[in-house]
């Protein structure tokens, strides 16, 4: 075990996987010379050279398309999106090429590719630099989608994503990069598709992922003080969903709250709520409550962004509402 930052954990994952498999490489804007906007690629080019750590033009369609093409030709590319907000620029490449090639061409070749997408609120970055867009990709067959909440999962999921033969979108919350945590030494892998019960509890199931997990941990502490025993599940993988773990928990707690930073309407919480309402409604003793961002773009000004945020208090309040 060592205590490192989330950024360092992803860097260790990259370093280990690039050392292990020379087909692995990475491209993106400002990752070689600068080492990534959040330091998440620091020193990687020094170690592996700019032939495997490439600064690209500002050409997101070419970045994703070229990664796809290189994968078809035997490579295992990692692409950095700079900010997840720009994934719309190459959305066709993700939706119609990356996600579909394996199935549509009858399994001739899969796309072992990772798209890293730093997302979420940080620093009052406003409408075009603060979004959490993972829900789109839950709706696209052929993709896997992960969103770690801590350094250990960051490393383990990134390594698993790089080794996965399918395309994986790896959402990494910008506010997490500088957070620290214990990470197992050595070849630490976290399986894609497996949620993590972070806190056992008997009164209510609280499901979240990414940065919002930290708010949920705080909410659970607040609630524990009020005598509410929260079972807290870190989804970790958004697609495919670990339905089993959630249903098992809800069956015991009979209550479900889901929290995420993304806009509530049409978010990942909708799918989770719908699954439970379809598969386990008889277990439920309360409405399924979702906590998510309001239905507006992310505003800039301090009080507006504050009001926009999903906080431990809002989550705790939602949990209280179902007790």
């Amino acid at each position: 075990m060592s205590t490192i930052t989330f950024a360092q954990a992803t860097l260790d994952a990259m370093t280990e996987e690039m050392a292990r498999d020379e087909r692995v490489f990475v491209m993106g804007e400002d990752i070689a010379r600068q080492g990534g906007i959040f330091g998440q690629f620091k020193g990687l080019a020094d170690r592996f050279g700019t032939g495997r750590v490439m600064d690209t033009p500002i050409s997101e369609t070419a970045i994703v398309g070229a990664c796809i093409g290189s994968a078809l030709a035997g490579m295992r590319p990692v692409a950095d999106m700079h900010f997840a907000d720009f994934i719309g620029v190459c959305f066709d490449e993700v939706l119609n090429q990356m996600a579909k090639i394996y199935y549509m061409f009858g399994g001739q070749k899969s796309i072992p590719m990772v798209l890293r997408a730093p997302d979420g609120l940080v620093n009052q970055a406003a409408a075009q630099h603060s979004q959490s867009l993972e829900a789109f990709f839950l709706h696209i067959p052929g993709l896997k989608v992960v969103a770690p909440s801590n350094p250990a999962d960051a490393k383990g999921l990134l390594k698993s994503a790089i080794r996965d033969d399918n395309p994986v979108i790896y959402f990494e919350h910008k506010a997490l990069f500088s957070t620290k945590g214990e990470v197992p030494d050595g070849d630490h892998l976290v399986p894609i598709g497996r949620a993590n019960v972070v806190r056992k509890g008997s009164d209510v199931t609280l499901v979240s992922y990414s940065m919002t997990m930290n708010h949920c941990v705080k909410a659970a502490e607040i609630l524990a003080g009020e005598g509410i025993d929260v079972e807290l599940i870190d989804l970790r993988t958004i697609s495919p969903l670990d339905v089993g773990t959630i249903l098992e928990s809800v069956a015991r707690t009979t209550r479900l709250v889901i929290a995420h930073e993304a806009v509530k309407q049409g978010g990942v919480g909708a799918e989770l709520a719908a699954i439970v309402a379809e598969e386990a409604i008889d277990c439920l003793d309360a409405p399924i409550v979702r906590v998510g961002a309001p239905f507006t773009p992310v505003p800039f000004a301090r009080p507006l962004e504050r009001a926009y945020r999903v906080t431990p208090e809002k989550i705790a309040e939602a949990v209280r509402s179902v007790m």
Partner: protein, 334 residues
């Protein structure tokens, strides 16, 4: 490099080529022609579903370009992909079966005409998204470079596709990184119902190459020799590590945009005239016969074989089973 697009390969005499190459040109072109005529017929008779775009009249482009490529080179095709696949050496039977939606198809019936592909011979797929292939071919070329081979990749695209932003991003990336990719434009004068020049701001798409610092060459796309020569120098250049290039092949879309197109935007007369004057197959035939490079008899033999191969492919497709419904759920993830 910044000068106007060069013109290449015109007026080459067939006699300078070996018989094998010439026979190859002819076999490719005539196979494509028979294949496409068969597909058209079967579509119109209701045997083939989906959207089908025919390559008839443009055979010289695929034949001329692909004669420069190896199995280990890659191509990215378009929605009009049958000709590219055949020229790259894709298996005719599995192609036809795919177009028929049969389980024996190269994509197990999941793709159809618009997603015809044969990765085994480096044909990385037709693409239903116009302009979807530029960046993918660029990535395949990047892989060649990273792997230290002298392989190349070719991105085929239409005059209409030239206006997609993906062209620009791929061309710049390829040129900035010196990647071995050739962008081959099939300027067939039409993008669906829209005449080339009404939506494209320049006469020659090859004129855009200079803006990336890469060579841009225009050839007569209905002259297989011109295409072959034009592609040859650019492919060799790319193999030597000298970077990407753009080859514009001037041709004409003889058939409707897709099979079933009512074609109200142009006259039958216009099309008939162009076809009579420029059909690449009789042009090739008379050139080689005149130059005594191949005889009529030799040509007929090749044509007969092509016809027979297509017939067998059709039989294979027709007699192959449709996929089981359960196949729907197979092959989403590895």
């Amino acid at each position: 490099m910044c000068a106007k697009a060069a013109r290449g390969g015109e007026g080459t005499s067939p006699s300078k080529y070996g018989k094998e190459l010439l026979a190859g040109f002819y076999r490719t072109m005539t196979t494509i022609r028979h294949f496409e005529q068969t597909v058209e017929k079967c579509f119109l008779e209701g045997e083939i579903p989906g959207f089908v775009h025919l390559y008839i009249g443009e055979e010289a482009v695929a034949a001329g370009v692909m004669a420069n490529l190896r199995d280990s080179d890659y191509i990215q095709s378009t929605h009009r992909g049958h000709g590219h696949a055949i020229a790259k050496g894709a298996d005719l039977k599995r192609m036809m079966a795919e177009i028929f939606g049969k389980s024996t198809g190269s994509c197990k019936g999941k793709g159809g005409s618009m997603h015809i592909a044969d990765f085994g011979v480096g044909m990385l797929g037709a693409n239903g998204v116009v302009g979807g292939g530029f960046t993918i071919a660029t990535g395949a070329a990047l892989a060649h470079k990273m792997q230290g081979t002298d392989g190349v990749a070719v991105a085929f695209f239409g005059d209409g596709a030239s206006n997609r932003g993906t062209f620009h991003e791929a061309a710049n990336m390829a040129a900035a990184w010196g990647l071995p990719v050739i962008f081959v434009c099939e300027n067939n004068k039409w993008a669906s119902t829209t005449p080339y020049r009404t939506t494209t701001s320049v006469d020659h798409i090859a004129d855009r190459a200079a803006g990336y610092g890469m060579p841009g060459v225009v050839v007569d796309g209905n002259d297989v020799f011109a295409v072959y020569e034009g592609a040859r120098s650019l492919v060799e250049r790319a193999r030597r590590g000298e970077g990407p290039a753009l080859l514009e092949c001037k041709t004409y879309r003889i058939k409707g945009h897709f099979v079933g197109d009512p074609e109200k935007y142009r006259t039958k007369e216009e099309v008939r005239k162009v076809f009579e004057e420029t059909d690449p197959i009789p042009r090739f035939e008379s050139a080689v016969v005149k130059a005594r490079a191949l005889t009529r008899k030799e040509l007929d033999a090749i044509d007969g074989e092509a016809r027979e191969a297509v017939r067998l492919a059709l039989e294979f497709a027709r007699t192959s089973p449709e996929p089981e419904e359960s196949a729907l759920f197979e092959g989403l993830y590895v």
